[in-house]
Amino acid sequence: MNTTPTHWPRAIALVDMNAFFASVEQRDFPSLLGQPVAVTNGLRGSCVITSSYEARARGVHTGMHLNEARHLCPNIVQRPARPEVYAAISTRIMQALHDVCPDMEVFSVDEAFIDITHCQQLYGSPTEAARLLKQAVYRASGLLCSLGLSGDRTTAKYAAKLNKPDGFTVIPPWEARERLRHVPVTELCGIGEKIGQFLANHGVRYCGDMEKLPISVLARRFGNPGRRIWYMCQGEDPEPLHFDVAAPKSIGHGKVMPPNTRSRQVILTYLQHMCSKVGARLRRHDFEARTFWFGLRSERDWLGEKIRLSSFSSDHRHIYQHCQQKLNHIWKGEGIWQIQITALDPRPAAMQMDMFASEPEQLARDKQLHLTMDKINLRYGEFTLSPARLLGRSDMPNVIAPTWKPDGYQHI
C-alpha cells in the first residue's frame, strides 16, 4: 500500500465486519472454521440472516430461504442466531474504535464510519490511524474486518468492499475521482435501482459519466440528495458523519450470576450492584427515568416486571427500593442465572423545577450527595463509595453489553 504521509483535507474510514454473525459463530465454535455456515433466527428460522464466506462462495446470500441454500450447498451448517452475543461483541468493537478516535458514526451493528481528519496528525497519518482502527477491532473481538479509507464516506465505503474479508484499502482523496471513474454508479452506497435507472436514462452508467451531466438535472429530480449523488460519483461526497448519537432509548445493566443462585441475599447484592450502576450511568449522562425493567433469568426464561417510580429519578436508592419491593412478586425461589435492570424511559434530567415537588430541600441534598459520590468514584474507581452491601458484590467483569436488554428495542 503506498501511503503518503501528507495531511489529508478529510479522512474518513469505514470499518465493515465481514459476515459478522457467521464470523462470530466460527470464532466461538472452531469446528465451524472453514465450513459453510448459515445463521438463522433460531433453529426454526428459515431465512438466512447471514452466511459465512464458505457458503457465499457457493452462492448463498442473506435473505435466501434455507432450503434454497441447502440446495446450493448441501453441507451447510445451520446456526441459531445469538443476538445477545453479537450485540455484546458489536458494542465492544464500537467502544474499541471509539477509543482510537471518538469522531465516529455507528452505521449498523457491524459497520462504523470514523472521521480521522482531526487525529491524523496524532497518529502520524490517516493510514496509520486506520491501521490502528483495524487492530483495535481484532483486539476487541478476535475478528477480521474490511477497512476502507478515503476522503469521503461514499468512497471509503466503496474501498472497504474491494478487499474482503481482511481488506485494507486506501484511496487518497485526490485519487478518488479516477478510481471511481469506471465503477458503475449503482455500486455506490445510496444509489439504488430507481436512481440508477434515472441516471442510465441520462447516459450515466459509470461514475465517470457524471461530470457530463449538469448537477441541476439531479437537483430537479431528487433535490438535495440528488446534488449529493452528483458529488458522490466524483469522489467528493459532502455528507458529514453524524456523531451525535440519538438519545438512548434505554440505559441498563445486567450480570450473569453464579448458576442456580437461590439465596435472597445474593440476589439483593446483585440487584443493588446493578441499580447502583444504572443510577450512576443515568447521572453521568444527566438523565433520569421513571420506568425500569427488573429481570431475573431462571433456567428457562426471564422473570421480570416493569417497575414505575412515582417520579423521574436517577437515584440508585429509589430504583433499588422499588425493585426490592417487587422481588417477592417476581421471584418465587427459583434458581437464578442472570440479572438485568434497565431504565426504559431515560430523558435529560429535569431542568424545569416544579412548584408542587415534594420536599425540594431533600431533593437538593440528595443531588449534592450523588454529585460528591460520583466524583469520588470517578476519581478513585467505581464503587469506592457505595452501599455497604456491595462489599460482597461479584468481581466478575461485565460480560453483557451495556446496550443489551432482554425486552429491549435493540434486539438484533
Binding site: P348, A350, M351, Q352, M353, D354, M355, F356, P360, A364
Partner: protein
Amino acid sequence: MKFQIQRDNLLNSLQQIIGAVEKRQTMPALSNVLIKANHDSLSLTATDLEIEFVTHLDMVIDEPGEITVPARKLLDICKSLPVDSQVNITINNDKAMIQSGRSRFSLVTLPASDFPSLDEISSNSEFELPQTTLKDIIDKTAFAMAQQDVRYYLNGLMLEVGSKVLRAVATDGHRLAYCEKETDCELADIKQVILPRKGVIELARLLGSSEDKVKVILGNNHLRVQLNNIRFTSKLIDGRFPDYNRVIPDDGLCVMTAEREVLKQALIRASILSNEKYRGIRLILEDNLVRLQAHNPDQEEADVDLEVNYKGDHLEIGFNVNYMIDALNAVNSEITQLTLRDSNSSCLLTYPDQPDCKYVIMPMRL
C-alpha cells in the same frame, strides 16, 4: 317534524355548539346534533358527555318533532348555502330532508331517544356577572393549565367563588396564573370547582366581550353558564386543586420593573437560539440592566441586554422562555414587575396597574 329557518340563524347556532362534537366518536349519536322543534321554538343540542351546548331559537314551527342528524354534515351544508337563503327541514322515512333553493339533501338520522343527556344538575349556588368579565378571567389564566398531566386535577381551570369575588387559577406545576374579579354574588362560603380543559376552551370560545350578564350555576358535579340563547354545561374534575396561596410568593428581595412590550420583544429575540425542546433562557440581573442569554445544542448563542429598573444584587436565574412570554402576553399593561428571591426560587410576575393578576414561574436549572 317540519320547519323553515334562515340559513344564517341555523349556521350561527351550529357553529356555537359544534365544539362539543368530537371528530371521532365511539357512540354514533355523539357525532349528531339533537334537533328539538316545539311549537314556537327550536333547540339544538351537542355533547361529548363531558360538555354540552344547547341553543334556543324562538320561531314558528310547522310541525313539532325531535330527531338527531350528523352535526358536521349539517354544518357543512349550511356553510355552503348562499347567505340569506331559507332552509326547509322535514323528516321523511327516517331521513332528514334539507332543502334550500334548488338544492336538496337527505341525511341519515338517529332517533332523539338515542341521544345522551347530562345528568340533572342540582344548583348549589348561582351568580351573575358580565360576559366580558368571565371571558377576561379565563383568557388571563387558562394558558397555564396542564395538558394530560398525571395530576389530573391540573388539567383544568380552578374557579373559586367567594363573597363578591371570583378567582381563577391555572397551573401545570411549572407556572401558575392567578386572576380575581369583583362580582355581585353574595355567597355564604367559598366554593371551589375545577373546570376541565376542554370545557374551559369551549367556554372561552363562546363568550364575547359584551357587558351582557351571564348566569353561572355551580352544581355538585357540574358548572352551567347561561347566555342569552345558549346554555353551556360542563362536568367538573373531581379532585383537590393544590393550595395556590402557598406557591404565590408574597415577598422577594429583587424587584425589577420593565416595559412589558420591550421585555417581551427582547425575550422573543433571545429565544430564537434557545434549545427548541427545553426553551431555557438565562436572565442575569445587574444594576438597572437585565441580560438575556440563550444557547442551543449547535452551540449558537444569543445575548440581549435590556435597560430595566433594578437595584438589587447580582442574580442569575433560568426560565423556560415560553412561560415568560405567555405571562407577558396575558395582560395588556404598560409596565410589568418581576419579583425574585434567588436562582432556585419562583419568580412572581405582576402588573402594577392590574393588581388582580399574578403569575408565578418556576425557574430552570441551566
